[in-house]
Amino acid sequence: MARTHDVAVVGAGPAGLAAAVEAAEAGLDVALVDGAAQPGGQYWRHYDERHARPDDRDGHHGWPVFTGLRERLRAERSAGRVRYLPGRQVYLVTRDEAGAFTLRTTASLGEPEADAAGEVTARTLILCTGGYDRQLPVPGWDLPGVMTAGGVQALLKGHRVLAGRRAVVAGTGPFLLPVATGLARAGASVEAVAEANGTLGWLRDPVGAASVPGKAVEAAQYAALMARHRIPYRTRTVVTRILGQDRVEAVRISRVDRDGRPAGPVKEIAADLVALGWGFTPSLELALMLGADTRKDVDGSLVVAVDGFQRSSVEGVYVAGEATGVGGAVLATQEGRLSALALARSLGRPAVPGRMGRLRAAIGRGRRFAAAMHRTYAVPSAWTEWLEERTLVCRCEEVSYGDLRRAHDDLGAHDPRTLKMLARPGMGWCQGRVCGFATAGIAACLNRRETTAEDLRPLSTRSLAAPVTLGELAALDRSRDAQDDQ
């Protein structure tokens, strides 16, 4: 029988690393499960540590914070207080009558194995499942050479691979800047950054600059890098069409009004790489599987509702990082630490006076900053007007905008769930991870209203949090084997 940990932390990005380390240092018995082969998450993604080079840290923010956490994780592992399971994705979480959680995991790298090695049982959970690039469909976005901004970044940081030579980076938000400067530093020519919104970044955002001064410094560094690489930064500009035969050859960009309606001259730019990013979508599979309450955040994404100690509505389940609202690595790290300290206190471990109070104050400032950023870099409300009948919304199942419109107009699919059942967006390999936000937005727009949490929830809920072989599922129920053997 596997041991029951005090806590299982899911995810080893900024929030999860901080949570695992703090929890172990507070004396808890910790399991840390992560899909990647080495810690760091998306934010501190880096090349295989066994073949590290000094320049792997280039373009990384808070790298010493990461290496510090990594060192502490090593120490806690050697002390036997953290069981670290890299390369495993949790596909199912259940709770037994005694209240203990069981995580079932499958190998995210290498071959699947049908045994219980990846099963983790714990009294409590800290879910730090992070997020991924939010995408909006646009004509031509299914051409080879179009990637998510985060995907381009992952290839650079994780694999030292440059995804193209002539790049256009488009969408909205501050994340476009590190992607653009990262590409330029690696030798690509960045033809343009198309920012859909009107501001010039953090420097002109009074709320942002005031709440978290460090961010202003970061912004100034990017502004300098953009200037050094002579990257044109076009505000109120969107990519309305991506052109090419078998792969990207050019993009058409257009000036837009405040709502994102094309309202100015159109220009074509030759490119072989288009990196698109519209903010981030939190990964909520496990929290939703456990029945945690969710809400719609300022940026329009569904997030887990937590209290001032990172507690979700489900007893014993804490959530930290992007899953509670996209806010960046600094905030995520603070939330991870707070969740671990609050949990340790609830399990009777002595609390260091003042630490939680300071963290909570910092988190409050971080959240206010994040909200200001979300308002500055909102997804344009009129984005569906860029779509054409044939534009694919769900790429897995090849469902076009026209298919969705017909399911709405002719078949009475008035909500995203019915739209999904009748037209199949989100029914393929990715199970709606890519098209869920867009489908919810289209459903709301077809009904002339704003998206609600109820629209987003069915598209964020997944019965299995990751694909898993039937062989692994068959091996799950060991009581059945016992019966069969008799």
Binding site: G412, R417, W429, R462, L470, A474, D477, R480
Partner: protein, 403 residues
């Protein structure tokens, strides 16, 4: 057309409908379609969205193979004709596929039992072909070599059930039917004993007749009218695999013990594999059955058993990945027969519910028969075995309620 049909013009005059259908699942949709085709003015009320309940939680089975002689088989064979004749022109809209069912047996005794069932079914109008062990792979190249034999049922077919609901309602709307979603029935309008319409969250709707097609929730709707219809939930899980090459699994393939499980009243978990491909390339693996009320948590035991038994039929599935699982609540009655027809205890109230796991297949026959009876014609099939008042009024439900 229908002189004996009561209350119709009166309700219409009061701004109401000839018929209010409660529930926009497959049975409600089929009933609305055939009733509007027969000239009735129909309003469908649905508390959620169309096809939001059990209709979106199954595989879309149109099976005759799993039925022994009796009223359900008669209704299944009648529905077959409705699907293939009355609705033939629309078949492509809902991905109707006459793929046939292959019932496989693992041992010689089990093959013998299958042959016996087949002979019996043949006498009652079911087409059955005996399949010998060595022919198995001609039907299904990936079947386990361990199997002993099979029976092939060419009448078994498949549809995409949500598309059935949506298109039947679309066709009904074209015939004047009104569909009100997000509208919950909160009570009935009465004139003495008579049901004269429904009270809803969107206002009262006077009607000549009200049809309770609320599926697994039909017992509660009947309760609002003060009558007992013992429809209870029986939970089922289905696993969905990654998309596979076309014709990886060609028919509906299931193990012989499935027939026994369908007819069983045991509350405990039962799983017998039903494996089939879909238009979109996914393979569906059903079907567990257990009585646990309306519990929506994923059962590790159920999905694990489904996976194991599917692998026993198709060993190649071991390495195939499941992308999702979904569950639904089949509406079942203690005698495993649906409830179809007028309720003498509350004149004006009709029922079409309790079809258990066969509701998709039986929906069209049910809808057509209800429309015939509603418009005063003699239904093509005797509805007596499905009478709503066949259950004792006072019998306690304790045996049916899960712990």
């Amino acid at each position: 057309m229908t002189p004996q049909w009561f209350g119709r013009s009166a309700a219409r005059r009061r701004g109401g409908a000839d018929l209010v259908v409660v529930g926009a699942g497959v049975v409600g949709a089929a009933s609305a379609y055939f009733a509007s085709l027969a000239g009735l003015r129909v309003v469908v009320v649905e508390r959620g969205a169309i096809a939001g309940g059990t209709s979106s939680a199954g595989e879309g089975n149109l099976l005759v193979s799993d039925k022994e002689a009796g009223p359900e088989l008669d209704l299944a064979l009648y529905s077959q004709r409705v699907w293939r004749e009355d609705l033939a022109e629309h078949a492509a809209l809902w991905e109707f596929e006459a793929k046939g069912g292959l019932v496989v047996a693992a041992s010689e005794p089990s093959v013998a039992a299958l042959r016996e069932l087949g002979d019996h079914q043949r006498r009652h109008g079911v087409e059955v072909r005996d399949v010998a062990r060595e022919e198995l792979r001609d039907y299904e190249p990936h079947l386990s070599p361990e199997l002993a034999g099979a029976a092939f049922y060419p009448q078994d077919a498949q549809v995409q059930p949500m598309l059935v609901v949506a298109h039947l309602l679309r066709l009904a709307r074209g015939l004047g039917t009104e569909v009100r979603t997000g509208t919950e029935v909160t009570g009935f309008l009465r004139d003495g004993e008579r049901v004269t319409g429904v009270r809803t969250t969107g206002g009262d709707i006077p009607a000549g007749a009200v049809l309770n097609a609320a599926g697994t929730w039909a017992g509660a709707v009947a309760g609002l009218a003060g009558v007992r219809v013992p429809v209870l939930p029986r939970r089922g899980f289905i696993l969905v695999t990654q998309p596979m090459p076309p014709r990886t699994v060609r028919h509906k393939v299931y193990a012989a013990e499935y027939v026994g499980d369908v007819a069983s009243s045991d509350a405990a978990l039962q799983t017998s594999p039903v494996v089939e491909g879909t238009d979109s390339g996914t393979i569906l693996i059903g079907a567990s059955r257990e009585r646990v009320g309306f519990d929506r948590t994923v059962s590790v035991e159920a999905i694990s058993a489904l996976a194991a038994k599917a692998i026993a039929l198709f060993p190649m599935l071991r390495e195939v990945r499941a992308m999702r699982t979904y569950l639904g609540f089949r509406p079942y009655c203690p005698d495993h027969l649906p409830v179809i027809g007028p309720d003498p205890r509350a004149p004006g109230l009709w029922h079409a519910c309790g079809h258990e796991g066969a509701g998709i297949g039986l929906s069209t026959g049910t809808g057509k028969l209800v429309a015939q009876a509603l418009t005063g014609r003699a239904p093509d099939l005797d509805l007596k075995p499905f009478a709503p008042d066949r259950f004792p009024d006072t019998e306690p439900d304790t045996e049916e309620v899960p712990q």
